[in-house]
């Protein structure tokens, strides 16, 4: 089959690789109809996530048609149309039984590797380095889906691929980020990053009842999408004024947002002059994995007693963590890879009910064979790119 493989820093290629096979009774094989490039794929592309290998098949946002099921998969049949969540979860361990699917204790066969870096292993993830299991991803014609009786959700309406594809990751991830903010109604929520996940964090905060939602980014076209499509009430373009903390104060009568969502992660671009330069150097020489401006500013901007919700991806260690602000302002720091399986059904219903149409983030549609162009366009934000969907 054709598949997008990682071939070193800033390099992906579409190559012929063997077709996937059922390896366990609880596996299914899915023929992929739509797949997407995620912002977190750019961290792999840029070479900042450790334990990538040349030849790794990328991609963790995909959907398609079931073409084969193992004998332990009772809920799916050949021909079913499914969306596959990016975290691989067994559904049986103590964590899964408590709906913390991204902390699944059984789905990562490289648990020993992950334990060395993170203290504990976390779930397996499709196409996302060997730390998260070494699973082939879904920017390909076919994918093997382990624990297919737990993850995939059947799509039985005539919704288009683009309306449901993002159930695989970015819609539940954005929603999870907003859910962590304990929104009860009337809050002010600030969202760092107006990429696809940030757009859905904004839309979710609005759905959950936030009164003001402030989008923060350096690209006006993304802020325009946040204001016009996602439902943000205000926008800060830090390309015009980099002092985000002060601008957030002014927008909130001096108090600061009740909660701040970091939908940026490890490759933040703004930062303060000298610190940003130092971090670029440390990251380039692999002395530090994170450029942590977004998380630092999130902590500094959040009102005392508020919540900082981290859904942007980090991979290792970060310098200059503002522990003093975190502690003295009595902040709650919450984070995680989204437990997608928990949110699949309710978010599918919201899409069916018309509460949200996630296809608004799609700006580029490309054939799978042009995936390398898709990575470049997305990385450099050319042509007002927000989200790239690939068609095998």
């Amino acid at each position: 089959m054709r598949a997008t493989v990682w071939s070193g820093r800033n390099s992906v290629q579409v190559e012929n690789v063997p077709d996937p096979r059922i390896l366990n009774d609880r596996d299914a094989i899915v023929k992929i109809t739509s797949t997407a490039i995620c912002g977190s794929d750019l961290h792999l592309y840029d070479g900042y996530i450790p334990t990538m290998k040349r030849g790794d098949v990328l991609g963790h946002e995909f959907m398609g048609e079931v073409v084969e099921v193992g004998k332990g998969v009772g809920n799916l049949r050949v021909g079913d149309r499914v969306v596959v969540p990016f975290p691989i979860a067994c559904g049986d361990c103590w964590q899964c039984k408590h709906e913390r699917y991204s902390a699944c204790e059984n789905s990562n066969p490289n648990a020993g590797l992950a334990e060395k870096l993170f203290g504990h292993p976390t779930c397996g993830i499709f196409g996302y380095s060997h730390l998260t299991g070494g699973y082939a991803g879904g920017q390909a014609e076919y994918a093997r889906v382990p624990f297919a009786d737990v993850g995939p959700i059947k799509i039985e309406d005539d919704l288009t691929d683009e309306q449901v594809l993002f159930l695989s990751d970015i819609l539940p991830t954005g929603y999870f980020g907003a859910d962590l903010c304990d929104i009860k109604g009337g809050e002010c929520i600030a969202v760092f990053g107006a990429g696809p996940v940030g757009q859905f964090a904004i839309a979710s905060a609005v759905m959950l009842g936030a009164e003001r939602v402030i989008a923060i980014d350096a690209y006006q076209y993304r802020l325009d999408m946040a204001l016009n499509k996602a439902g943000a009430t205000d926008a800060i373009n830090f390309d015009e004024d980099p002092d985000i903390v002060e601008q957030l104060k002014l927008l909130t009568g001096g108090r600061g947002p009740d909660a701040v969502i970091d939908a940026v992660g490890m490759e933040a671009t703004h930062g303060h002059g000298a610190l940003h330069t130092m971090e670029r150097v440390k990251q380039a020489t692999r002395q530090e994995t994170e450029r942590g401006h977004a998380l630092r500013d999130a902590i500094l901007a959040c009102r005392p007693g508020g919540i900082v919700s981290v859904i942007g991806v980090y991979g290792g260690l970060m310098d200059k963590f503002p522990a003093g602000a975190l502690m003295n302002k009595a902040l709650q720091l919450r984070a995680g890879q989204a437990p997608v399986q928990k949110y699949l059904r309710p978010l599918y219903e919201r899409i069916r009910d018309g509460d949200i149409d996630p296809s608004f983030v799609v700006t580029h549609r490309l054939p799978l064979d042009t995936a390398p162009d898709g990575y470049e366009t997305f990385k450099h934000k050319q042509d007002e790119c927000v989200k790239v969907v690939l068609k095998p």
């Binding site: 598949a3 390896l23 609880r26 030849g55 790794d56 098949v57 103590w94 066969p109 490289n110 020993g112």
Partner: protein, 129 residues
């Protein structure tokens, strides 16, 4: 700390002890090494803790030499592989396999990962799948 490992399995102590003795589940390496194994109830109905101590044998003696003979280097890593596979097998009914680690959790594979792309026929046979 050296030579000790533990894991928690989300099943009752009775079931865990029974399956531990069952030839279909019994961890081979830990069994061959005859390490001391104890089972405790985890707090809050969270299942059963399995504790393995490589410094003592199941008969109460010291182990060291036996371990080296059976496996060579890194006995603790092999014990941890065994515990994770046992937990996976009991809780999920399968051993988790990926393209990078097709045999399932394995100390030898940690540093010799396959690329995360599907295996061809020859590799599948070699991995015993």
């Amino acid at each position: 700390m050296k030579g000790k490992a533990a894991i928690t399995v989300y099943r009752s102590r009775e079931e865990v002890e029974r399956l531990w003795r069952d030839s279909a589940y019994r961890p081979k390496y830990i069994g061959d090494a005859d390490a001391a194994v104890t089972f405790n109830d985890a707090p809050g109905d969270r299942g059963t803790e399995i504790h393995v101590d490589l410094e003592r044998t199941g008969r109460g003696g010291r182990l060291g030499d036996v371990v080296q003979k059976v496996v060579g280097a890194e006995p603790l890593a092999k014990v941890k592989d065994d515990l994770r596979r046992f937990k996976q097998h009991v809780e999920t009914g399968v051993i988790s396999r990926s393209d990078g680690t097709p045999e399932g959790e394995s100390a030898e594979r940690k540093l010799k990962q396959r690329p995360a792309q599907p295996l061809d026929e020859a590799e599948l046979q070699k991995a015993g799948i």
